[in-house]
């Protein structure tokens, strides 16, 4: 009979329409600003710089090695190395970035900077409501805008943060043992700051 196929199709449409009142499976709409889906842990959008402790300038893990700047496929990272040094997350004296800019209008969220960073210093954020009316200054993020605490990293990516903390703790223990063996008084004078910072961060997990 002509029209039988169409009628059968409408049965399916009706099943979905009435089913949407009964089953959550068929009503998947989320009323976005009021309702939100739970955040998926692996989600990534733009990079941020991790710091340990409370002071973002002292605790910044980045040592300004410029590997991410070189590897970034769309070349959205700009780094200027500092002239002087400060103790890093492991306790060694290192350079730090005097300027660290990311142009998020160019960034394509590919995560390659995170993969190539040997210092666990750059990670991916999950914040996505970032619209701005300032298309130049508002999208060029500097060091202050990019820095976020290790506690925040632990909150958004708990699994990855645990791995990264363990790695750093191991490296720190190695560096400490080495410094102890070489020169005891000197190690004591340079380490405390960084030591407190790292232990403080990992205790917030």
């Amino acid at each position: 009979m002509l029209g039988e196929g169409i009628a059968k199709g409408f049965v399916e449409t009706a099943r979905n329409f009435f089913g949407s009142y009964l089953s959550k499976d068929r009503l998947t709409t989320v009323q976005y600003p009021e309702e939100r889906l739970p955040q998926i842990e692996a989600t990534r959008d733009f990079p941020f710089l991790v710091y340990d402790g409370d002071d973002w300038q002292a605790g910044l893990r980045c040592v300004g090695c410029q590997i991410c700047e070189k590897e970034c496929p769309p070349k959205c990272i700009y780094i200027e190395k500092s002239k002087d040094k400060k103790p890093d997350a492991v306790g060694k004296l290192q350079f730090f970035p005097a300027v660290f800019n990311i142009d998020v209008s160019v960034c394509m969220s590919c995560q390659i900077c995170v993969e190539v960073c040997p210092f666990e210093a750059i990670k991916m954020d999950t914040e996505f409501e970032l619209s701005t009316d300032d298309r130049f200054g508002g999208l060029l993020w500097d060091k202050a805008r990019l820095s976020k605490s290790n506690a925040y990293y632990g909150k958004i990516h708990p699994t990855d943060a645990a791995v990264s903390d363990a790695l750093l703790a191991e490296e720190k223990a190695k560096a400490e043992a080495k410094a102890k063996a070489a020169n005891e008084p000197m190690a004591n004078s340079t380490l405390p700051n960084a030591l407190q910072a790292v232990s403080g961060a990992s205790s917030t997990q």
Partner: protein, 386 residues
């Protein structure tokens, strides 16, 4: 007559309408039109409702992908491959990784091979689901079928997000394996999605398979003959719908596809209906592969330990890696001169090559059929223009 642009006059004169028998009309379909799936233009010459000439015009989305790849590292090109066929970024990743692995002679751990098969088949599911959704939309079934298929696609994109961090631009595979291991609970969630997917297919078949309007619009429309399909270099579901048994998963057995038991659906007539049905059946075969892969996936490493991510320098040579992407044969040809960048990087995009038979399929049909025939080729402009 003086008001007409010269190009139009030429076109019309070439078709022999200058002798005044009938007036031909040149119509520009696209580039900004939802039915063209992006920025694609069809320069159509019409005799009444009938298409007498069709010239595909593309390049609006050209991004210099191949040349950029020649000036970035091997790793740096991986996220750009996501942007070729942005519906199925994981299959693009795999094709590129396969080419580099051939070039450098890298072995992939078994678990990574299984993850690749699982993600690629999930990609095929969501690609075909959205393609048939768009196709019915173009036939005038606005709304419901597309929304149902997008509802299912959403579940697969959620799986991709929890695995790779991104819904579409996954950037997941690496030379010698995959970037991260499966998160806890991912396999269970995937099994659930795979178990529920047949319900969607059954519903979708009941919704449309017997629909008289769909049958009238698709059967015998846009026939692509077997010979022309082979001569045109067409691959993927379109080729199989024309009756050619050619699936690279069976022909090359790349990765670990020789371990799975699945069949290749073949069409008989090469019309729009066959291309639609071949995709529906392929989804069922993908579910079969997924069931076996999810059952057999072994524990173990996901990255080859000898492969460096940074400073990757394959020895001089060349390699061509190809896979059966949801749209056809996706290949990457690489020439290395031993430096950190490829000397030559070439993509063989299935969308572009399948598009070359568009005119032959459309001649003689009317404008609304042209849109439907174009829809069954299943192109993504990111891949056509690169």
């Amino acid at each position: 007559m003086e008001m007409n642009a010269p190009a139009v006059q030429d076109l019309i004169a070439n078709d022999g309408a200058a002798n005044g028998d009938e007036a031909l009309l040149e119509l520009s379909l696209g580039p900004h039109h939802p039915s063209t799936h992006g920025v694609f233009r069809m320069d159509v010459v019409l005799d009444g409702e009938r298409v007498v000439k069709l010239k595909p015009v593309f390049g609006y989305l050209h991004r210099n992908h191949e040349k950029i790849a020649e000036s970035t590292s091997y790793l740096g090109s991986m996220p750009y491959t996501d942007r070729l066929d942005y519906i199925g970024s994981l299959t693009n990743n795999w094709a590129y990784a396969l080419a580099v692995e051939k070039l450098a002679g890298v072995q992939v751990p078994e678990r990574a091979e299984y993850i690749r098969v699982i993600t690629a088949e999930l990609t095929r599911l969501q690609n075909h689901a959205s393609t048939i959704g768009f196709l019915t939309q173009e036939m005038g079934a606005s709304g419901s079928p597309l929304m149902y298929s997008f509802r299912e696609r959403e579940k697969i994109l959620d799986l991709f997000e929890s695995l790779t961090g991104s819904r579409m631009m996954c950037n997941y595979m690496r030379f010698g394996g995959c970037r991260v291991d499966l998160p806890s609970g991912w396999l269970e969630q995937t099994r659930k999605v795979v178990a529920e997917f047949p319900r969607f297919l059954d519903e979708f078949e009941r919704l449309l398979a017997g629909n008289e309007i769909l049958l009238a619009r698709t059967q015998g429309v846009g026939v692509l003959s077997r010979d022309l399909a082979i001569q045109g270099g067409v691959t993927g579901p379109i080729l199989r719908a024309s009756g050619v048994n050619y699936d690279i998963r069976k022909v090359d057995k790349y990765g670990i596809y020789d371990r799975f038991d699945f069949r290749v659906p073949i069409g008989e007539h090469g019309d729009v209906y066959d291309r639609y049905m071949v995709r529906m059946l392929e989804m069922r075969e993908s579910l079969k592969i997924l069931g076996q892969a999810l059952r057999d996936i072994p524990p173990g490493a996901i990255m080859d330990t000898k492969t460096k991510i940074r400073g990757f320098r394959p020895k001089a040579g060349e390699a061509y890696g190809r896979i059966e992407s949801p749209k056809g044969e996706l290949g990457f040809f690489l020439i290395s001169d031993g430096s950190p960048n490829p000397y030559r990087y070439r993509v063989r995009p299935p969308s572009l090559i399948n598009l070359t038979v568009l005119e032959d399929m459309c001649l003689g049909s009317n404008v609304s059929d042209t849109i439907v025939i174009f829809g069954t080729i299943d192109i993504v402009l990111g891949e056509v223009d690169r």
